[in-house]
């Protein structure tokens, strides 16, 4: 039995059939239950673990249809439209799903209906029925109690008091008075249940552009063999991509273990790609870099490769002078590093058209940035005007200057005095006009390149113009020059 704390009292959240037979019900107080059945075994309720377990079951059910939705706390909804013929009909699919889920749980209830709501109502109130004709399902539906609508407790009681006990009773009534008396929600739910309103599930994953899978009659228990099977799928994917004139940017392999666990292996590329061998190399890199290796356990019974993102890709040709080739090699290097070290860790610089120094360069994941824009060439004959290290945020310093709006004379940074021997400036960088207006926070910065007595070169700035913007402008060091 599982208990949870509801408004200060321990109440029963879930019970086993034996406890139910003793007359206990969910929602009871633990103290009352103990009074009835003193030898209760009690565990705290963990909704998060339940949810994770449901997600794992949903992963498991991916093998029946790509469109799987979870309906917490205890339901999975599978959209099996167009999948049934693969299993030999609706009833056979439901039986297969029940069989495979029965391995994980004692109680599996299933229902198969025209709409998700009908299916869940049948699963909860009339499990285990399979219908030869669709009309039969409708008849059963109409016999279900109003609780199958999953409406609020008060509405339910009100309906029963009014003598409307089954779905059929409700369906016979005109909808306008029902809506006026019990709310729009009721009518909407009724329509969805009976299939007169459109209703669909929100799958956990959108269907991928391309999907390849292989199933094994006997689970394979060696990772090498699984990777060999995956290589076969990669070859198929390459062929299909070539036929379409497309290349993949994202590849995801999923291993389905026979006990319901799944393992993912994904690779991303910075340029569209359709080379099976290169893909396998990337996936192997990813496999080597995994912190907990893929454990085959009792073996995998299915492997699937999906290509969620595809983009047009022109057939490539070797260039004698090596333009495209070196670009490809560079992209391949980025792909390898990104799949090994993680896509966020490997970045490239992208220039931005702004004067604000800390916004002048972006670092973006290299995989997303196949060709960065060119950088403006520095001015010839001039020493560097931008530092090689930039502090973000700038570090505050104490500055002594001759005059408040003059150049710095000496400054104190990290408890160390620096005497300014040489300086150049100010280089005035104003905040953008939409921040610079009176009353806004944007202040003008006066940047100085300074060199101290030991030859260290700093980039420091005064934040705010003296007198006109601030009475006592603060100073900051913003960067270190080479």
């Amino acid at each position: 039995m599982l208990v949870e704390k509801v408004r200060g009292a321990m109440r029963i959240a879930a019970i086993c059939p034996e406890a139910h037979a003793q007359g206990l019900t969910p929602g009871m107080m633990l103290a009352d239950a103990r009074a009835q059945v003193p030898q209760l075994g009690v565990e705290p309720h963990d909704p998060l673990a339940d949810l994770q377990w449901l997600e794992r079951l949903a992963d498991h059910c991916d093998r029946f249809t790509p469109l799987v939705a979870t309906d917490p706390p205890d339901m999975l909804v599978l959209d099996i439209t167009g999948c049934t013929h693969l299993f030999g009909g609706e009833a056979a699919l439901v039986a297969a799903a029940e069989d495979s889920l029965a391995r994980f749980s004692d109680h599996v209830r299933s229902g198969c209906g025209d709409t998700p709501e009908a299916a869940q109502a049948l699963a909860r109130f009339a499990p285990g029925l399979s219908f030869a004709r669709p009309e039969d399902g409708d008849v059963v539906l109409r016999r279900l109690p109003v609780a199958a609508l999953r409406i609020e407790e008060e509405v339910q009681t009100a309906l029963i008091r009014a003598g409307l006990k089954t779905i059929g009773d409700l369906a016979m009534r005109p909808s306008a008075p029902l809506a006026a008396r019990f709310g729009e929600d009721l009518v909407e739910r009724l329509d969805r249940l009976l299939g007169s309103a459109d209703s669909r599930i929100v799958p956990r994953r959108s269907p991928p552009a391309l999907r390849f899978e292989t199933r094994f009659a006997e689970p394979i228990a060696r990772t090498e063999a699984a990777m060999a099977a995956l290589a076969n799928l990669a070859g198929q994917a390459a062929e299909a991509l070539e036929q379409r004139g497309m290349g993949g940017r994202h590849f995801a392999a999923r291993f389905y273990r026979s006990d319901g666990r799944t393992f993912d292996l994904a690779a991303e590329t910075s340029l569209p790609m359709r080379d099976g061998e290169v893909l396998m190399r990337l996936l192997h890199e990813r496999l080597d870099a995994l912190s907990d290796p893929i454990d085959p356990g009792f073996g995998f019974d299915m492997i699937r490769l999906i290509v969620p993102r595809i983009e047009p890709m022109a057939p490539s040709q070797l260039q004698l002078e090596g333009g495209a080739v070196s670009e490809e090699a560079f992209a391949a290097l980025i792909d390898r590093l990104s799949s090994r070290l993680g896509r966020g860790a490997i970045r490239r610089f992208q220039p931005r058209d702004t004067h604000i120094p800390e916004q002048a360069a972006l670092t973006l994941p290299a995989v997303d940035l196949p060709a960065p824009e060119p950088w403006a060439a520095p001015q010839t004959g001039e020493p560097p005007s931008r530092p090689i290290h930039l502090f973000d945020p700038p570090q505050p310093i104490e500055v002594i200057a001759e005059v408040p709006d003059g150049p710095p004379h000496r400054f104190r940074w990290k408890r160390q005095q620096h005497h300014v021997v040489r300086f150049e400036g100010p280089e005035r960088i104003a905040a953008p006009w939409w921040k610079h207006a009176p009353g806004k926070s944007g202040l003008t910065r006066d940047y100085y390149r300074v060199e101290d007595a030991r030859g260290r070169r700093f980039w420091i700035f005064r934040h705010g113009l003296y007198d006109s913007e601030r009475p006592d402008p603060r100073w900051y060091v913003h960067g270190l020059f080479a």
Binding site: A329, L333, P384, L390, K414, A453
Partner: protein, 274 residues
């Protein structure tokens, strides 16, 4: 496809070798080495900085991080190829971000730089091992702050071996660190040096005091004051600015005094406080 590409690659490498030999760079580069452009440094190194080796650059103080970074970037530019720069997340907080416009000012194109930011020193070293195994990388800069325990003799030996087998030159940039036994080919110490002032006493080109602390198989020793010339992309002897180090400050401002005549109060202020 792949044999064709291989032969194309070898032809290209051959042509590049011929071009290098023909180039006027004072007789061309010795095989497997990259000239720094500074005659004294090149002579001490026996021709140039060896490729496919591990080199260590030390900045003993954190304040010299900018100079050491600049020197590493300059060497990477001389060595050529794709540059992979690996940093710790802590370096980002302590020493600031690697600023792409600043790399442009050194002469490196940020488009050829891949930046890797890893959470800690151990992750950086693991990534460095991976990067060094990729033959397509030209130079890998491994930036480490302080003395991480993970970077010991074994780790450096592993990096050096990987570099030798793949042909990637590895530069270990050690900031605020003290030298410890390692398998590096060369070990440098970089600190700031006063630059030759431009007009109106403005700070000039990047100038560093570099010292060759140690070198495998050759006598070590030698300290130079060098200046980085972006247009020529080479190190050059820094012109004298009235003696190296802190003592030169007074003579320095004297030499350029006529240009800063408009600020007499500042000069006296310096004398008073200095």
């Amino acid at each position: 496809m792949s044999p064709a590409r291989d032969s194309l690659e070898s032809l290209k490498a051959h042509i590049a070798g011929l071009e290098r030999a023909c180039a006027g760079e004072s007789g061309g580069e010795p095989a497997g080495m990259a000239r720094t452009g500074h005659a004294g440094v090149d002579a001490a190194l026996g021709g140039g900085l060896m490729r496919a080796r591990l080199h260590e650059i030390f900045a003993f103080e954190a304040d010299d991080a900018g100079c050491a970074t600049g020197f590493a970037a300059a060497l990477a530019l001389r060595l050529g190829g794709t540059l992979v720069w690996l940093r710790e997340g802590e370096a980002e907080r302590r020493g600031g971000q690697l600023h792409a416009p600043g790399l442009v000012e050194i002469g490196l194109s940020p488009a050829q730089v891949i930046l890797g930011t890893l959470p800690d020193a151990l992750a950086v070293l693991r990534a460095a091992a991976d990067v060094t195994r990729c033959g397509d990388v030209g130079v890998a800069v491994v930036e480490l702050w302080r003395n991480p325990r993970a970077f010991d003799l074994t780790a450096s030996r592993r990096l050096a071996l990987a570099a030798e087998s793949s042909g990637v030159t590895v530069i270990a940039l050690r900031i605020a660190a003290t030298p410890a036994p390692s398998a590096a080919q060369t070990r440098w110490q970089v600190s700031a040096a006063p630059s030759l002032p431009m007009e109106a006493n403005a700070p000039g080109y990047p100038a560093w005091r570099i010292e060759l602390l140690r070198q495998r198989g050759r006598p070590a020793g030698g300290a130079w004051r060098v200046e980085w010339n972006r247009e020529q992309a080479c190190l050059a002897e820094a012109p004298p600015v009235g003696g190296a180090g802190t003592g030169g400050a007074a003579a320095l401002s004297g030499a350029v005094l006529p240009l800063s005549a408009g600020r007499p109060a500042r000069t006296t202020g310096l004398q008073r406080t200095g």
